[in-house]
Symmetry: C2
Subunit: 317 residues, 2 copies
């Protein structure tokens, strides 16, 4: 389906449910509400759904959003690469998605029609291209939604998926009232008290090996239980060990729920290969970010990991 | 002086000292080495100086840099708004700066010729405009230097000084081998072990008032002495208290060296006025970031600050 056909699709359908992925981020939420506004401006009826209530920090994207009750006739998923990502309460729609708009090269093509571009930095960038090509009118709120998705998925233009077009789009969207300072503060700077507590604990106990070139943080099930913080706050800590000056390989050990071993998340600078490191333990991933699982106690797992790291630095000499 | 005259200046002068400001950041260093490369490519002799050795984390900007000894004839300062910012060892040049290239509206015009544009997001953006207008050839290393200054001073396109042109320039510079992922990692993600220790201490002891709407961190001279960390690592902590979800006013108290009182750095969201808050104590600043000094012990100062904060939240009801 090309953008001309997409426009025709929107014109000829109505009563939309717009589905976003579980653990929603600024791209799926931004894309959902951008699309709601586009459809609303075309005189269509629509509703944006997530398997759970949207987190409060996205409330600036609902500006002008009205929810009415209607019998859904058209199901559209945004930024949802796999129907499993819809989450429990939305799984009822999984096999009847009419259209999926996405930017994950890994998209499973579970929808009847799929518009996917793995080269786009965000799902909202796909929608932006569509709007530009088809002359769909831009508004302040749509611009804010599109910018939010773009900033979120590129880590505010820091990640390798930041293509020049992402910057060009940002420049163009700044012609609208998007208050990007506030958007980025909400997306990147604000942390919950629980998260602050968790980061403080793991950083305090961070371990340094091989002259600080290898840094390790550990999360045990006991720690998760003891802090009394929402276990979700213990997700996404993997970038922390590599934030230490001089670190070449940053390793996060997280105990499996059944306590039979640990999940490793490995991050490296250009001086080491995370994927090769994890392959030794039956895992894999990208050259700078990879993962694996190792069975055993913390001491056993740590011994195996450090032995592998030692080889890494021995090879370098 | 316009860009045509600037080009003429470069063509007719030689043996340059390029001066950067003390506590160097990515913009002054980026601008310095970008200019060195421009001059070098024009067949000129030049040297980039700071009052101290450049921190190691900027070493990716020295690529291809050669330092020869020569009798300096032309002094250029980059991103230096005030000659006081040159620092001790460079003060000998303070009164004989021939040219200053800057983007601070507050520039003191201490140089014989000054090119300043307060609207430019970074000093490197001023240099980039010059290169484009005058058709100066771009190279990979110059592009990397210019991008580094741009990313540094805009907080990676997050701060309010990010103008659309900053994004356009970034998009254009990405046509060169700038490895922006690595640049941004070095500029934004990496912290020294000392800094990590310091952040951990102040965050652990962060205080929450008025339902978490007011957050306070304290740095005493005793803490600075006890940690054994370079005192400079205690600078720039002021953004931390406002990173807590729900915080409206984030206050950093730092004890004065003579222990007679505290320096306050106040940061606010759109719901409070930092400048008005600090004016009560004889200080001032911007609406979202301001400062002042209050004499007294920690307990006395804290009592005054919290009384002022209480009024702030009482007014809101």
């Amino acid at each position: 389906m090309d953008f001309k056909e997409l426009r025709r699709f929107f014109e000829t359908h109505d009563d939309y449910l717009i589905l976003t992925h579980r653990n929603p981020d600024g791209d799926t939420v931004g894309c959902g509400f951008a699309l709601w506004n586009i459809l609303h401006d075309m005189g269509k009826t629509a509703k944006v759904l997530n398997c759970e209530p949207f987190p409060k920090r996205y409330d600036f994207l609902y500006e002008g959003y009205i929810e009415s009750s209607f019998e859904p006739k058209t199901i559209v998923a945004v930024d949802v690469a796999d129907k499993q990502l819809l989450g429990d309460t939305l799984m009822q729609y999984a096999d009847r998605v009419d259209l999926c708009i996405d930017h994950h090269i890994s998209n499973k093509h579970y929808a009847k029609e799929t518009i996917v571009d793995g080269n786009a930095s965000s799902a909202t960038l796909v929608l932006y291209r569509f709007m530009k090509e088809q002359g769909i009118p831009m508004t302040d709120i749509i611009a804010k939604c599109i910018y939010t998705g773009l900033a979120t998925d590129t880590g505010c233009f820091k990640f390798s998926n930041t293509i020049p077009e992402a910057h060009i789009a940002a420049a163009e969207l700044m012609a609208y009232d998007i208050d990007f300072v506030n958007v980025n503060r909400r997306m990147f700077d604000i942390k919950s008290m629980g998260r602050i507590k968790v980061e403080n604990i793991v950083i305090k106990d961070m371990e340094f090996y091989f002259g600080g070139r290898c840094t390790v943080i550990c999360v045990t099930q006991a720690m998760i239980n003891d802090t009394g913080v929402d276990p979700a706050e213990f997700d996404g800590l993997a970038s922390i060990p590599l934030e230490v000056e001089g670190a070449v390989i940053g390793i996060t050990l997280k105990e499996l729920k059944d306590r039979s071993g640990f999940k490793l998340s490995v991050r490296t600078t250009e001086e080491a290969d995370a994927s090769a490191f994890c392959r030794q333990f039956g895992g894999g991933g990208h050259i700078r970010a990879a993962g694996c699982e190792i069975k055993g106690t913390l001491a056993e797992v740590k011994a195996k990991v450090l032995a592998a790291a030692e080889v890494l630095f021995a090879d370098e000499r």
